[in-house]
């Protein structure tokens, strides 16, 4: 075959018109609304200077908030993977009354404003709320504790897992399961050895999406957490508090830490999805 060295081209030729104008507009808009504003965080952090930046980032209150944010987000994401998988499984594999309704309502946490979710959950789980009342005799307090944060984060995160697992579960060829059954595998063995490995990439993606969403969540948590510094203060709230105290440098430094974490997560998700979609391909 004849290998030609061709000049570097950004775009392949196409008869479809309008690339220049649509691309130009999109890039301009993205630059003005996203890239420049987001870069402000790093620009301002750079102005602070590394020593002071480190001092802010490693202060006790910031570290405590990061610890709370990470631990509650992680726990919520784990719970979401378990129940998300369960819901996706039940919706895809079983028929029961009201299934369509449940399927249609799964996305409610995406659609419901977080402030509404926040006040609703707080009221439900406070000591005289519908659910809090039942838990109080058992000595379990939810609202204004880290458990409350987890509840809010489970609420806002579980559609991610359901919606990433569902299509994969649907696309698994039933013949594969039938083949496993013909070869003598029990139902559980089929699930564990055949289905679960297929679902794993989707589960991990769902976990990462729910986790990264939980880390940044503000509206629903701010009501239920009680916002006690060192105990139930999540990182986004700490940024907000610093801003209200006109501590712009402090707020920006913490925001920079959060942004870097978000970027790393985003990068990992992308790399992972790329890997997952290519791993069984013949190169």
């Amino acid at each position: 075959m004849n290998l030609l060295i061709k000049p570097f081209k950004i775009k392949q030729k196409s008869v479809i018109p309008g690339f220049g104008i649509t691309m130009g507009f999109s890039l301009t808009y993205l630059t003005l609304l996203v890239l420049i504003p987001v870069s402000m965080v790093f620009l301002n952090s750079a102005k602070i200077g590394p020593a002071e930046f480190w001092e802010i980032a490693s202060s006790e209150r910031v570290l405590a908030s990061l610890k709370i944010s990470f631990s509650t987000s992680f726990l919520a994401a784990v719970i979401n993977v378990i129940f998300g998988l369960l819901l996706a499984w039940v919706l895809e594999r079983y028929t029961f009354w009201g299934k369509k309704l449940i399927d249609g309502l799964i996305d409610l946490p995406f659609a419901l404003p977080t402030a509404v979710a926040g006040i609703s959950l707080t009221t439900l789980y406070s000591q005289n709320g519908w659910i809090g009342k039942l838990l109080a005799p058992l000595g379990i307090k939810v609202s204004y504790t880290p458990i409350g944060i987890v509840v809010a984060l489970v609420f806002i995160g579980f559609p991610f897992v359901v919606r990433t697992v569902q299509p994969v579960l649907e696309s698994i060829d039933l013949e594969v399961e039938e083949a496993a059954a013909c070869l003598g595998a029990t139902r559980f063995q089929t699930f564990y050895r055949v289905i679960l490995p297929e679902l794993l990439p989707a589960l991990i993606t769902g976990f990462a999406l729910a986790f990264s969403r939980a880390l940044g969540e503000y509206g629903s948590v701010v009501f239920i957490s009680g916002n006690m510094p060192m105990k139930t203060e999540i990182t986004p709230l700490l940024i907000r508090t610093k801003l209200e105290q006109y501590d712009y440098a402090g707020g920006t430094a913490v925001a920079a830490v959060m942004l870097i974490i978000s970027f790393i997560l985003l990068l990992l998700i992308n790399i992972f999805q790329w890997w997952a979609s290519n791993r069984h391909k013949v190169s």
């Binding site: 479809i16 999109s26 890239l35 620009l43 499984w89 995406f110 402030a115 649907e170 059954a181």
Partner: protein, 293 residues
């Protein structure tokens, strides 16, 4: 905040429920279904119902008084203005970005998609902060300019609109890109060979094919514009009757222990969310019908 998973394009086939591979025990499905339904009711239905229950706890009169209160009305008005501005702008952006990404092959496409997704992965508080850092009249990068011209963006409606534009930027694009990619370019090519201009091709061929996903994307943008809390809260300054949107008004009422009033206003936002879900399911169903060919 509300991320979005684009409507899945599914192909019709026998559902697994219709074709049981193995006759397993009948108890396991029942138990699993029961747990799933219980979780669903506890996590979703109860909070949903409680919004309306709390809203009407003190009677219908207080409910209507709360949502017709002049300050509530001002908040609703500001929210409507925000929607009226963000929806058209981000719809145009979504369409142009989707056209460039889905209909052409070019280098750096994935980077572009990542940038479009960026607002999803940034905490809403940080989304608010970045506009404070740019436009604050005391600390912002553009403070000298703004002060010279006497412009106020932060703690004023323009800041709210900017922050809302930022957080709702990905919705339309993310809904229509996968669909446009799946549809490919042959229908557009067919239109071009039949002599249609680029604009007519878009208007008569592309748009009708994506209208349901587009509608849902627009609906998501509108709902999110109405419900955005974190980012708006940072840039608004909570000036009653001036920079309060509906969710901020809910927060103020709640913090003042006016629970019924807070839930009354919150119920309006919940209704929008429910309408959103209905639109989504109709759109989903329509797209499925379309892709059955």
């Amino acid at each position: 905040m509300a991320g979005s998973i684009p409507i899945q394009i599914k192909t019709a086939k026998t559902t697994p429920a219709e074709r049981r591979a193995v006759k397993g025990s009948k108890i396991v499905p029942v138990i699993l279904t029961a747990i799933a339904i219980l979780f669903f009711i506890l996590m979703l239905i109860v909070p949903l119902i409680s919004v309306f229950a709390k809203a009407f706890e003190q009677g219908a009169n207080l409910y209507f008084a709360s949502i017709t209160d002049p300050i509530a009305w001002k908040a609703i008005k500001l929210t409507l203005i925000t929607i009226a501005i963000t929806v058209p702008i981000n719809t145009v952006f979504g369409l142009t970005a989707a056209w460039a990404i889905a209909k052409f092959k070019f280098k750096g496409k994935n980077v572009l998609i990542t940038f479009i997704d960026l607002p999803f992965s940034i905490s809403p508080v940080v989304a608010g902060l970045i506009f404070v850092l740019l436009f604050s009249t005391s600390h912002g990068l553009l403070a000298p300019l703004l002060n010279a011209w006497g412009l106020k963006i932060i703690f004023a409606p323009p800041g709210i609109i900017l922050a809302t534009l930022f957080v709702t930027l990905p919705f339309v694009a993310r809904e229509i890109i996968p669909l446009m990619e799946a549809q490919g370019t042959t229908e557009e090519e067919a239109a071009l060979t039949l002599g249609a201009s680029g604009w007519k091709t878009f208007w008569l061929v592309t748009l009708p094919n994506i209208k349901w996903a587009l509608l849902y994307g627009i609906m998501l943008t509108a709902a999110r514009s109405a419900g955005e809390f974190g980012a708006v809260s940072v840039v608004s300054g909570h000036i009653r009757g001036l920079t309060n949107t509906v969710p901020l008004h809910v927060e103020i009422l709640y913090n003042e222990y006016k629970f019924s009033a807070a839930f009354a206003v919150a119920s309006l936002l919940t209704l929008i969310a429910l309408i959103n879900l209905i639109v989504k399911n109709v759109a989903h169903w329509k797209i499925k019908q379309q892709s059955k060919i």
